[in-house]
Symmetry: C2
Subunit: 478 residues, 2 copies
Amino acid sequence: MLFYFVVYIKLISIYFCIKLETITGMKEIIKYREQLEQLIDEGQEIKILSLISKFHPDDIADLIDALEEEQKSKLFRLLDVETASDVIMAIGDISREFILEDISREKLTEIVEDMPSDDAADLIADLTEEQAQEILSHIDQEKSEDVQKLLEYPEDSAGGIMQTELVSVKQDSTVKEAVELIRSHSEQVEDLHNVFVINADLQLVGILPLRKLLLAGENTPISEIMDKSTVYATADMDQEEVARIVKKYNIISLPVVDEDMCIVGRIMVDDIIDVIEEEDSEDIFRMAGISEEEDVVYSGRTLKVCMTRLPWLIFNFFGTLISGYFLWIYQSKLHDLLILLSFVPVICAMSGNVGVQSSSIVVRGLATGKVDFLNLKKTVMKEFIIGIIIGLVCGLIGSLICFVWHHSMVFGVVVFLAMFIAIAFGSLLGVLVPLFFKKMKIDPAVASGALISTGNDLVAINSYFLLAAIFMKVFFKA
Amino acid sequence: MLFYFVVYIKLISIYFCIKLETITGMKEIIKYREQLEQLIDEGQEIKILSLISKFHPDDIADLIDALEEEQKSKLFRLLDVETASDVIMAIGDISREFILEDISREKLTEIVEDMPSDDAADLIADLTEEQAQEILSHIDQEKSEDVQKLLEYPEDSAGGIMQTELVSVKQDSTVKEAVELIRSHSEQVEDLHNVFVINADLQLVGILPLRKLLLAGENTPISEIMDKSTVYATADMDQEEVARIVKKYNIISLPVVDEDMCIVGRIMVDDIIDVIEEEDSEDIFRMAGISEEEDVVYSGRTLKVCMTRLPWLIFNFFGTLISGYFLWIYQSKLHDLLILLSFVPVICAMSGNVGVQSSSIVVRGLATGKVDFLNLKKTVMKEFIIGIIIGLVCGLIGSLICFVWHHSMVFGVVVFLAMFIAIAFGSLLGVLVPLFFKKMKIDPAVASGALISTGNDLVAINSYFLLAAIFMKVFFKA
């Protein structure tokens, strides 16, 4: 049996492997990969460099991810420091592990020196304690201090994702002075789209897009052309909240301030895109009962992934075992009514599915801000009404089928009522459980999927058999 | 019964309504909303304007969304054109509908004139044919032509989300000329972070960040300081593909070209954030069996939402009805083995849950690019191994419980085997179905949730009862 399974997936995965190429549109990389693999095996360094010199660092990263283990390091070693520092943050975790194991301390120091502080902190956080200390003691002291400060912030706070490279100008300086300041910082601060404006106490008072700086006269005071209404994040703010601010106000680079309103860093919009993707993945996984971060889920650590999926499954295991217990008890008591069994799966499934639909809408709505306390009452009411309508429709279809199939009017009514109650209640549970979790400050995404289905199963089985028992008593035994 | 339900959700929703205020941190808006409602009722226009003058347009939009129907228009009518054009794109669909019904043609024309072309096209697409024609004939002719061109692109293509406002300079011009060009466009092109560089044939050849323009000498030729390796989108590219490019290369403003490599528009990173959120919501909803866009799901149209949720449910209805049929058939034949029933829900649920976990991982992986053909084989194998491990663990627990509960060794073995097969197969189905859908160019998210559970239920019930039948025959009747 197992053997057939293995052969079966082998065949299917090979089939997909061939076919997917044309789908993902990565043909180009495939083409170069083969050529590159050969060149690496032959050790043709100059040809390799001339081949990859026309690639964007992010494409080189894709290539390295596609190579075999030893080849990853071989290719990486050939890159110049600037490219290497871009590439190492763009490759996958598995490739990075291989490369970091193999890299010399000198090269790694150079790479870290060349990185913006946020990337440097992320990379150093991936190293062993010993490696990290060594690198930190060898890089430029100012940078080392910056990075160590960044490492103290929680990973998912504004401080954890910000970089310290930025340009801030005094509000009483002139355009000319500001341009000079930008010029003197131009090596460290690469992606500059605006400068932050501060007062004499070094507090953030405004923001100045480069466009305004470019069009203003040399001697114009900064305070005259800056935008005064400033949106900012505090260093301890949760990254989800930061993402909400960046989305709402369409910000390219957001200043981060400490409790005295002094600027301690800036967050770029592309880091926020990563945050949004990460949070969305987390929600999707939690809804499916996987309580882990993206990195782990897609890592090679099979056993670790198992461990993150098992807890929910075991919880669910005992939940559905209770349903099984009730099913068994009821059926033992109503053993002349085997016919009832034929509708158990459909009633349970419908109630569970409607519940999952409702909870997905609420969980996603809470995440995107489409559901908030301003429209909460409406949302709950709407989902309940939808539950009633779907319950009526499915109940009618169910009772009709029951009538045609088993020729029993009474059964038809039981199926109708049970289906209606299970679906209406299921929809309600699907809305209320995530809201309750949100209130208890638990991620509402945890509430979806398995939990909702299990709860709804219990309600569905019990209302179905209780209704059946009552109807049997009234119509046949009374 | 229904009465109690209604009272119950009323109470609970009121409870949540009070409690959630403190969670969402929108206290500020609440405070102003009450004050504003009173001022609007009293018609105190000057006081209203002085109150909202300190707000960011996006905050005014939140406030309008929170107001009652007639008050939305009353407040909107007071806004100056510039604020109004920012606000109308930031408010919810329901608020926009109310405002557009009420607004004068003159005001709307002014608002559209003030908007960037992509927003203008989106707004005009929301109007009736008649209204749209009227507005288009009254706005500036160049803008009208731009907007009409944009309206011809599919909504979810690069053309559908780009704006035509941009600055492109010839590669042989100087920095001084480029700055003059930016100055002459400064009224139309507000968010400018880089200029696109074109050759004599008007083709895109490079990109130039404002920072470089700011730091270069007046007479430096553009071709000397521009970035040559240019990433771009074509106008017919799908928005998901555009989002992937923007994410991969960390782009702030992406040029869009036609088939001759001439620039036709640009896409800003904040529009891409909206695309990412939209696509993620779509995936989450599809996984839950809701085949609709975010706008509809969170709209007030209850019946329409029902219609988008019913098809999947009805499909699922008949799927699970087949499970019910098998359950009934098997149980009628093995009616002395009611004991078997107690494990039906847990085996079905486990197989379904593991399947949903696996499919979520694959669907999300395909969306974020963490699963592609380069690691496809590994992913399928990994999920299968995880299925086997989870199957072993759950099977062991199940058979142990079965032994303790029902004191039957043979049953224990049946439960173990059935659970193992159902979970291993469930996990495999969870990986392969989305991949198959991807190959068939159907959104893999459609494959998740209900479909996987239904398929897995069928497999689980059949393997469980068949195994039971075989074991019974071997151990008791043979």
